[in-house]
Symmetry: C2
Subunit: 216 residues, 2 copies
């Protein structure tokens, strides 16, 4: 790794930690230089604009989300097994997040939802990617007969998003020890609402319901 | 109104507006004095500590929530009609919030969930009061036979909370025009999941299912 790249990563690393404590909007060339006890010009050299530093933080958190949540889920079979893994992985990630401020995406969403600019634009794109990822998993579950063909996919994704937000809130602010159980119960109910009814055993079609659909 | 009280309310009013734009943690004696273009000592006279100013903002927003959402709901019959009204009132309030930063409670929850102190403590108490209010409505719906006797009330409230959080997020950050419809659909599904099955018409018990339960 080049020295330049190393310095850049080091700055982003500390900025991410600072954003976790004080929110992404507290990140600026000045605040990060103070945190690093280095001249402002050293930070400025890598990040001439404050928003580049904030985007660097979002990119670093996105990489962690991919590494800790998305990639492990993709090791599981498509459809519900993969979605189950994504949901439980997300909950584990949010619950054990290194960043003191909890999952930075959620904090940043409410922080920047009314501040037009490159950070908000990037955040919207990230959320759209996340929705797209969830949609591909729900679609696979429909194709494989685990969820009903008439599953309202956007509604499913909206409801699942609410479950994850409620988990974050219940665990972080209210420190409710039941937060994880409640979130998983809500997720099971959501899946059950759209679960395909397995064909009768004597249908003789040769098609068997997916194991997860049968369990619910 | 005394002159002192008037000045105090004026300060809180501008601080609330500022908190909506920059977040509650941006509120301090200094930032509010700058906003008001007055000496710091004038703000300090009413709010010697920063957290008193922040608590003043939370109290002002709570009064608005009571005035715009809770009191109108209490005009409706107990049980589901009242809960329906609370939910649609909350959505309307959050959607049309005067505060640029959206419903300050949601923004503040993620902002302060990891910052111990009087603001976080107060916020937790407010959320517990809100949960208590929802619980009393759900309990009334159970008592009146609109919801099933085995309704898991804490789960119901958790799930409803997720629906409201998802609405806020979908409407504010993603600017999805379907946000309200999605939230109301999710709420209807939640109620349906726990709706009591009306007794058969020929049961002759003299007990009729509540109108709302029958509609769903």
């Amino acid at each position: 790794m080049s020295r330049n790249r190393y310095a850049r990563d080091f700055i982003v690393d500390r900025a991410t930690e600072l954003a976790g404590r004080l929110g992404l909007s507290a990140i600026s060339t000045g605040s990060v230089a103070r945190e690093l006890a280095c001249p402002k010009s050293s930070v400025f050299h890598h990040f001439p604009h404050k928003h580049q530093l904030q985007l660097g933080v979002l990119e670093a958190v996105t990489r962690e989300l991919a590494r800790q949540v998305v990639h492990p889920a993709l090791q599981h079979p498509p459809g519900l097994p993969r979605l189950d893994q994504l949901v439980s992985g997300w909950i584990a990630w949010d619950g054990n997040c290194d960043y003191a401020g909890g999952c930075l995406f959620i904090a940043t969403a409410t922080e920047f939802d009314d501040r037009p600019g490159p950070v908000r634009d990037h955040l919207v794109r990230l959320y759209q990617l996340w929705q797209h990822l969830l949609d591909s998993m729900v679609r696979a579950a429909v194709t494989r007969g685990e969820l009903r063909p008439d599953t309202d996919r956007p509604q499913f994704i909206h409801d699942l998003h609410g479950i994850l937000l409620a988990y974050h809130h219940t665990a972080r602010l209210l420190e409710d020890p039941d937060a994880r159980r409640r979130a998983l119960t809500a997720y099971q109910s959501l899946v059950k609402r759209w679960t395909a009814i397995p064909p009768p055993r004597d249908a003789g079609s040769g098609v068997t319901a997916a194991p997860l659909a049968a369990e619910r």
